[in-house]
Subunit: 191 residues, 2 copies
Amino acid sequence: MSLPHAILTALLEKPSSGLELTRRFDRSIGYFWSATHQQIYRELGKLEAEGLIRVLPSEQPARGQKKAYEVLPAGRAELARWTSASQDPKPHRDAMLLRLRAAAVVGTAGLAADLRRHREMHERQLAEYREIERRDFPPGKDGPEDRLRHLVLRAGIDLETFWTQWLDHALAEFARLPDTGGPESPAVRKA
Amino acid sequence: MSLPHAILTALLEKPSSGLELTRRFDRSIGYFWSATHQQIYRELGKLEAEGLIRVLPSEQPARGQKKAYEVLPAGRAELARWTSASQDPKPHRDAMLLRLRAAAVVGTAGLAADLRRHREMHERQLAEYREIERRDFPPGKDGPEDRLRHLVLRAGIDLETFWTQWLDHALAEFARLPDTGGPESPAVRKA
DNA sequence: GTCTCTTATGCAACTAGTTGCATAAGGCGG
DNA sequence: CCGCCTTATGCAACTAGTTGCATAAGAGAC
């Protein structure tokens, strides 16, 4: 249960409206914790009700008007508590690995094309991360906060590099395999 | 939506009862697609209703009796369809990276211990994968199905290696940082 | 022979996340 | 001044996954 904490972090970095948060989740934060605008609006409502954030005064809260939130002391305390608390990692779910395993049983037909497509996507994401790194972390910028944020970005860069290479490896393996309905069938075998 | 396909794959590898599936999900398949026994029983019910699997004859279906399922031709066809269909990868969610980003704002207190703990967990998982590799993929065993399954296991091994190394890197970075309430506070700053 | 433990199956309620759509304000074109 | 586009906020319904508990059969303890 981390969405509220992702939002608190984002709001501490910079007070924002729901839509601004949505856009920021589409960029930096969303790279390791994605969220739709509905999730965000709902969560903002809850956080406000719990007294962890509040609407910035000044703007009137009419519908269709910007409504910016800031974090209250209780929210900062909650985020600090959550950050330092021991947490078990959630198990991964990776549909592509599942598909490969399924392919071992029902055949590899059509899979290689999607492997290539995923490879391209990972490569594009990697280029985007590298661009962010170039822009946001030039050589001089290395205060404590910068170091931590850079560390997180590095994880993104290294992960995309990892998947790009792994998919290359998988594609090379595919090239050595018959690209048919698999080891024991032309598609449906016991029809 | 991949749980039904994970189950179909498992059942094609070997017809099983709900509990047997649950155990197999705790081992091999669950390493990239985890599921609880309730999810599995519910999904088995749906798959049977849709005519993709059926109860193996022989055993009577009284409660508390083993009830093994096998995949029907329609199920195999559905799995083949799903495997070859183009699918977009779901965005990752990684709470640890989120916590590091939060730590850049509210401080790193207490985080290093959990980084170390996660490092140990990844290392243990890595050892387990290596053991499986040694046991299930000895040098001679490399038919097409073996190659694909080995590829999937390799992804697990390489990912755990990746995280172990990344956490080492993060811990080294932490060692160079003040381990306090963060850049701008003793915990709650504007109280 | 009944008590308790393990195996096996399952329901119900809850939490999290997604999808589709609705509403309202403001700007701008004609 | 009316229709249309963009910005901004939000509800409702749905899908997926988790947690807690209930039920029943068989095995062995005593």
